[in-house]
């Protein structure tokens, strides 16, 4: 693991020295030492410098930076530069630029201007990755390989169409099978030749949902294939671990379960999209997802901002203390360090307003002081490296379900996926419970409670898996509009959800009744729902709460059969939290450190001989600790968490 090479947790960020000159490099060296930086990501956007014309490489400048960093005690996470092809490449290979569903070929002038399926691009990417790996495979500074950057660019061009067809042949075997899967008997869409099959480009009205879903699956596989090519080229000449960084919030173009299996360490980028407590909850949401995609193994926070909160049409600043608190929030949930984009705020270019470790204002600034504080804290936590985080509650997550919920023609625009997952995770976070994410077909036996929101698509295997989980006494909450289509997007017939799950839940959903925009209904237990309702028949379950109005008056809204619960509306946050709280009680899931007030987060990492309790106070007032403890960050005995402060306590582990 990288922490062994670093001798502790990773701390640092993207380092783009090519934007600066000699004098600044000297200052960088000094400031990195001052801040405790031990890992720098280099070369993410350097293709144009590394290969100024096709086939001619200029490594001299990079040699110098790597040597300098190494001499300064900073290891390097060396990036392949393939996320941003240089202008000469796109001029020579216009067919390797991405094309929109409308057929508009985008041009150079931003970043990510490549078509992942274009042979010229794939070849160029392999070649430059190989050249880098050959040059630096054994460089003592290199601790990690960073393939590409935030794979995300979709394309609908003719290369993509050709690749899509190859993928479809492999998946479906025959056109007959594809026709059956996509339901092409409807709307006269039956394909009689592979050449007729296209990506879901601009068309007259609704697109075929099966086609759209398969296109998402195809593109995810294509991303993974592109990653593998570079990874394998690197592995051929270097023994250092290889990864690629995933953009977490809303990152929908890749199945992260699958990608997680391909990287040596899961690395994620995380930028919250709301300030304050919401940002803290979002840190936990991202970190729990990252750890889950890593299969529970340690992972790495590759990017965060020192002062970047994306809030719609503006970028809010972080509050004092959040650089440390967010960093420790990630470490607490399994990250082996905390890295930032980027070391020094760009003077020019499209991200000159993206925050950095050294802001425009220079080192004499609040931000750089907080960066140093955070570097010092991480240095003191070297011992937690390699320890793990365990959870007894899980939220189900499946990219297929996410993609499926992007289909045209769904009955309501309020059938969201990502927000539904966040609401489920937030309810657990508010209750002080650390949660995993789990694939519906994964082994769930380690969990006592499983939440299944927005699981529109649920495969036969997934449905059987959930049935089995409940049958063995696991508590499960299935939420509205879940399990209604199978893995081919075919609707479940005879009543929703999928039969084995229906049996476990003891219900049959006969009819969906979307609520009107802004309609808010009351259930018999006084809770409130929006967006959705369903007509349910009890077939073994009891109604825990019922609808109280209109057609559904008296009809079950929330049901239970033994440990299997079904919720047919979108509860208000407070009511949903109460329900989840009740389920946690019933399932016997307890918070890591009970008795903490709201806004104080406690998470435990477990090593071979110790446990480390991370206590993060997101409140503006100090909070007393249950009992005095030695704080690893300050090496002092403390009996309270300061306002906005953090304490890490080591505890011996009874084995």
């Amino acid at each position: 693991m990288i922490t062994r090479r670093l001798g502790g947790l990773a701390f640092g960020g993207d380092y783009n020295p090519e934007q600066w000159g000699e004098a600044v490099w000297k200052e960088d060296d000094a400031l990195m030492r001052e801040a405790g930086v031990n890992l720098a990501t280099v070369g993410v956007f350097s293709w144009a410098l590394l290969e100024p014309e096709e086939g001619r490489y200029d490594f001299a400048w990079l040699d110098a930076h790597l040597d300098r960093l190494h001499a300064n005690g900073v290891a390097v996470d060396l990036a392949t530069p393939t996320a941003s092809p240089p202008p000469w490449f796109t001029l020579a290979h216009p067919d390797a630029l991405p094309t929109t569903p409308d057929g508009v070929r985008l041009v150079h002038g931003s970043r990510d201007t490549y078509c992942l399926t274009a042979p010229a691009y794939r070849a160029a990417a392999r070649t430059v990755a190989s050249a880098l790996a050959e040059r630096y495979g054994d460089h003592p500074a290199v601790a990690l390989w960073h393939v590409h950057n935030e794979y995300a660019t979709l394309c609908w061009c003719s290369h993509t169409a050709a690749a899509f067809r190859v993928w479809l042949r492999a998946r479906h075997g025959s056109l007959d099978a594809l026709n059956e899967a996509w339901g092409t008997a409807f709307w006269s869409q039956r394909y009689t030749d592979w050449e007729q099959v296209l990506p879901p480009r601009a068309t007259q009205w609704h697109r075929n949902p099966g086609q759209s879903l398969d296109f998402s699956r195809f593109f995810s596989d294509e991303v993974i294939a592109a990653y593998r090519e570079q990874r394998d080229a690197i592995r051929a000449v270097s023994d250092r671990p290889v990864t690629t960084n995933l953009m977490l919030p809303g990152y929908q173009n890749v199945d992260l379960w699958a990608l997680g299996r391909e990287v040596d360490v899961v690395a994620v980028d995380h930028y919250p999209d709301a300030p304050g407590l919401d940002a803290a909850a979002d840190v936990a949401f991202a970190a729990d997802r990252a750890r889950s995609f890593a299969g529970g193994r340690p992972w790495l926070l590759m990017e965060q901002g020192t002062s970047t909160v994306h809030a719609g049409d503006r970028v809010l600043a972080k509050e004092p203390g959040e650089v440390l608190r967010h960093s420790l929030g990630h470490v607490a949930r399994g990250s082996e360090g905390a890295l930032f984009f980027q070391w020094r705020q760009s003077r020019a270019g499209a991200e000159q307003w993206h925050s950095a470790m050294v802001p425009h204002a220079g080192p004499d600034s609040r931000i750089f002081r907080e960066v140093k504080e955070t570097g010092a804290a991480l240095a003191r936590l070297a011992e937690v490296a390699g320890s793990v985080v365990t959870a007894s509650a899980a939220v189900l997550h499946d990219s297929d379900a996410w993609w499926a919920l992007s289909s045209d023609g769904l009955p309501s625009s309020e059938l969201d996926y990502h927000p539904a997952l966040r609401r489920a995770h937030r309810a657990l976070w508010d209750a002080g419970v650390v949660a995993d994410f789990a694939h519906p077909e994964a082994d769930l036996s380690r969990y006592r409670l499983v939440l299944a929101p927005a699981l529109y698509l649920l495969s036969d295997e997934g449905a059987e898996n959930l049935r089995r989980f409940a049958a063995k006494g696991g508590t499960v909450l299935v939420q509205h509009f879940s399990g209604v289509v199978d893995g081919r997007l075919h609707a479940r017939l005879g009543g929703y959800p999928a039969a084995p799950l229906r049996e476990a839940l003891g219900i049959r959903v006969e009819e969906h009744r979307p609520l009107r925009r802004d309609e808010r209904i009351t259930l018999s237990d006084g809770s409130h729902g929006t967006a959705w309702s369903e007509s349910i028949r009890l077939e073994g379950a009891v109604a825990v709460a019922s609808y109280t109005h209109g057609v559904l008056d008296g009809s079950p809204a929330l049901t239970r059969r033994r440990t299997a619960w079904y919720l047919s509306t979108r509860l208000d946050a407070v009511d949903y939290a109460a329900l989840v709280g009740e389920l946690l009680d019933l399932a016997g899931v307890r918070p890591a450190l009970p008795g903490l007030p709201p806004g104080v987060e406690a998470v435990t990492r477990t090593g071979e001989r110790h446990r480390w309790h991370f206590l993060l106070n997101h409140r503006a007032e100090p909070v007393s600790l249950p009992r005095p403890a030695l704080d690893l960050l300050t090496r002092r005995r403390v009996d309270a968490l300061p306002a906005g402060g953090c304490v890490v306590v080591r505890e011996g582990r009874q084995r």
Copy 2:
């Protein structure tokens, strides 16, 4: 008429057996019998199956289904499949795909992916229609031909440009006339060669309104020509009636008056866009339009949903009882039956969430039970077939005016057309009065009251027609921004509206004064207006109500000269209803059944010897009848309408 062949009213829906297999077909047979289905629309989306490659037909599967249906007592409304060309066709004829104003050629993958003006498409459509007609022209199951489906796809490609030019030559005769009509002296748009004339594609700023209007007229004519080609091909070999189904709400691409003259029976599709009482009013609005387009003759509700209310970004469910109530709402206003899209809810494809007669949940469901109830009711109403509905009030409707109100450069975005018609119809519906729609140039002598909302464009003939109507004592209400341009979109000079109408109204509108968004004004009679105001001079009229604020303070808002009224603002619904109520009184128009509470609808169909009163209770409480009556639906004597219930009463006609 089709009802003669069926022996009563039509009941059934679109039937797409190609989406299912043997076992389901068997169940279909049984369930259709159970539900009283006597008519199924077959083949709407079957081109890919019927003609799996160019020129090779496969009729065997369709033979089998038609024979099966026939054996089961279900007649067939046989569709030509031309609304959804198969993938092989679009691959072979990319020029037959539709192109957007931006020049984006859409691709296969949805439905309606054809360019109506492409010669290859038109030829293929004629050919497949002929082949079908030859095969099934005499089939005993076939009761009706259903050409295409919801003609709606616009195109801006070069085929369209060429066809547009041919149409323009025919309409205008010369380029000089076109230049004069379109006012090309402005903005240096004078055409000197036909080749210069284009469809209104993407351009720098406002498009020429004359060009846009003529393009709408051209496209409507093109639709009708395309329909005629198929109809004539069918008529050549079959004696069954021919129609095409019109999509009613907001269906703006075809002049339905013109299309109504071409079909053997007007057939419409109707999906309400709001729940509850609004849906009921919308049923009446659609049905009255359909009957009017049919020239007062019986027509056919070809599609509705068992549980489909399109409400913006979601599809709401229908309430219990609405399947029957909406169906009878259509029948009461002249439909010879009630059909649905579709028989069985699709398992896959883009409309898998569209409601159906047999839902995903299967026949053991509320929806199927209501379907059966509706089938039974229609069976008991066989005797009403062929009877008619008469009205003594009318709302003026002209596609030219609608299209004209879509012009660029109008003074306010609140100058709506379709909503204005709905408001006018709703005021009459709320008053219990059945209304026709009438073309401004039509014979209006059968009406006592005519409402003219949003009649921006009014031809010289139309203006003279309205003047004559008023001169003969007809009560007419002309509403704001009406009669301001002539049939070529040239503004009326010297004061609006068109001179003969101005004289009848006794006013001269000098100036339009659009109101600000959310501005609400008060008139002297306490009523309120939004969106619009006008500066009016009285030239023979009296002011019934005046403006009370600002520039227009004291100036006439609502005027009257004998039976000719002019309203210069958009009144609030309640005030507008009061005004329409007053006009009804003055005109001597009475509801079909006076004394009913709001939300109870009464409509009368008149046959040779009987009248049938349809009473529909849209309220949640029972309502007493004026006197006990024999209900044809239950064959029982009733003295009240149950909550949400329907009663149909036969009455002998005194001749």
Copy 3:
């Protein structure tokens, strides 16, 4: 000057007789005399008539109109018709049509359908302008040349790309310099061949801000070059002055400082975008800008509407009296007349709803009566021609800053430019103070107070200029997010704003803290701010007001060092007005006529021997004058301004 030729102020408008016939022309002659029209803009949209096919000119019709106008005492502002190429031109030269960033080539059918960089277009424009100038260069009716109309059309085609490269070579000298300026080291954008450089077309994500800024600069230069070509062709054969009309509100495609230097008289078009007092303030805003672009010399209001207030999705009417009040509002601030678009409201075409001097309703109308009243008023003000308006307060304006604030990737969408300038100007207008606009690098010594809102980009020269201004005792208010990037969009390092200005202000801005949408903060002096806040360190300044919440609690919000003020948030209008009022007091700037109530505007024009005070009452009540005076408009002694009325008073000047 044109007023010498006219013998007074200009009055009239665009005249498009080609839309009408003989009878109307006769009426036009009479009505123009009745209204006092002395200048008509002819030929703006006449290319198709003037040159009905390439190289063949038809001048006969124009000869006749010019002779007729001349005979009627109406001088002509003769337009080159190049803003609207005729259909034959675009058919022959499709490459001369504009192309969007998406690559969509727009078509004929609107106006402004040309690509300014297309060689064919430029050649055709020069040729038709030359032909016109040769024909009419000496025509006695011609008083002014009107090149093109509202230059505004952008393009992203390959001609544009080529021209952009030529411009970039000239500006930057080398690719190295361009790479440095645009910061292409970031995102691997380094250019190695000029062919790689493109206009900022549709790309994957954020565009390079340097590229976008240079494209704006390039396009502005291209507009000026195109203008110059026509101007020089005209000057070669005519001695009449030459101008082009600028569209003022939001007109962002041309650097109006630069264009102002190229025209013989600055001519602007102005349409307010809100009714009432806002419209009056907008008149002053536009007029002060126009005068400033003219370098203080008289200018000309080339277009306004008699009843056109563009308010989002609708066009509101003007109130009675506004035709005169707006016209005098422009004249008071230096316009040598008041012209309208257009003389007679179009009967057809895309602007048939644009108001005009003679409306559809004809001369017997409120609008024409107000037109006549305005014509009479201007005739009585002939003596003010040539006089000037002086100001001792200025608002800084720089197109570079405006363009820069359109960059992708800025930290908030509320960093607006044009609205910020309007807010600054409005505060001065509300205080009764006439303001100039000034370029940041201009000589500011004539001003006592300078406001610098939204000056995101500030060159080194500009920063030094402001420092010098303050050092000499000038009062300056620099507002948030100003001075943060230099002329190449490179961020100022070490703290904002640019160093010399930072020193003058005595502050260092360390951090930007955008506020949340709808967040409203309170400062220590009770004022309120929205949109933005900053973390400031005092380095010589004092805090006049501080933040009172959160991170910035107690930190300076408004600072002052001697006469140099810095405001780090966007104050509410009332608070901002109070601050500007205080600065006016401190700077010793007094309104033209103190003591007037709000809504009464007073502006002074100064001639060689007289001063003329324009008093405009925008209120609905009469207002007493400080002392009785002779009103030039009525030639009567008045002691009050009527409600909504205007008075102009001449005063002898003490020299």
